[in-house]
Symmetry: C2
Subunit: 112 residues, 2 copies
């Protein structure tokens, strides 16, 4: 059995976290469902947790990442901004490249 290497990356603005894997997952779910409550349900987390996460994302971001509306047809909803979409694409790419690098490097340790 060989060792495996794992990693987590995240982006900070000052002392606050902007993005991590969980937040990216949530943003993708919002993009797919058009709603924060549906996104939360699909990820099996509470609405409150999802809301707190998105609130933190928007507070630490330079530009809005989501736009929400309350009331009206369907009760409201949430969508990603263009900036938000670009963010998750860039994050995923960096993360994937990081994994690829690490997966190659673990051989150094398996061969010790």
């Amino acid at each position: 059995m060989n060792y495996k290497i794992k990693s987590r990356i995240w982006i900070e603005e000052g002392d606050n976290v902007l993005l991590g894997e969980g937040r990216v997952r949530l943003l993708k779910a919002i993009d797919k469902t058009g709603s924060l409550s549906k996104a939360a349900k699909s990820l099996q987390i509470s609405y409150k947790k999802a809301w707190t996460l998105i609130d933190a994302v928007n507070k630490s971001s330079r530009q809005p990442v989501t736009v929400t509306s309350i009331g009206g047809k369907g009760g409201g909803g949430a969508v990603l901004t263009e900036y938000g979409k670009k963010l998750i694409i860039a994050f995923d790419e960096i993360n994937k490249n990081c994994w690829n690098y690490l997966e190659a490097q673990i051989e150094k340790i398996n061969n010790l």
Copy 2:
């Protein structure tokens, strides 16, 4: 103000963690002090926490990472095995290269 990117890497054997940044820090302190209790003190963690960490390291490692002795002159002590020394060197190198890569990549996000 620009965003910063951070990361954590760790090595797993099956479901158990072998090495992470904290464990590597502890192993280095053991190497420097020759004792688990002194290493714990130098890192401002409890002896118990240090012992639990080292126990987990040795249980998930293919080969012993530390060798401890109880009683006798000086009460006993702990030293790293050659395998343990090689492990922390390899871990540090991989980790450092990972940081360098990420630091270059964060520009993609700062330029969005």
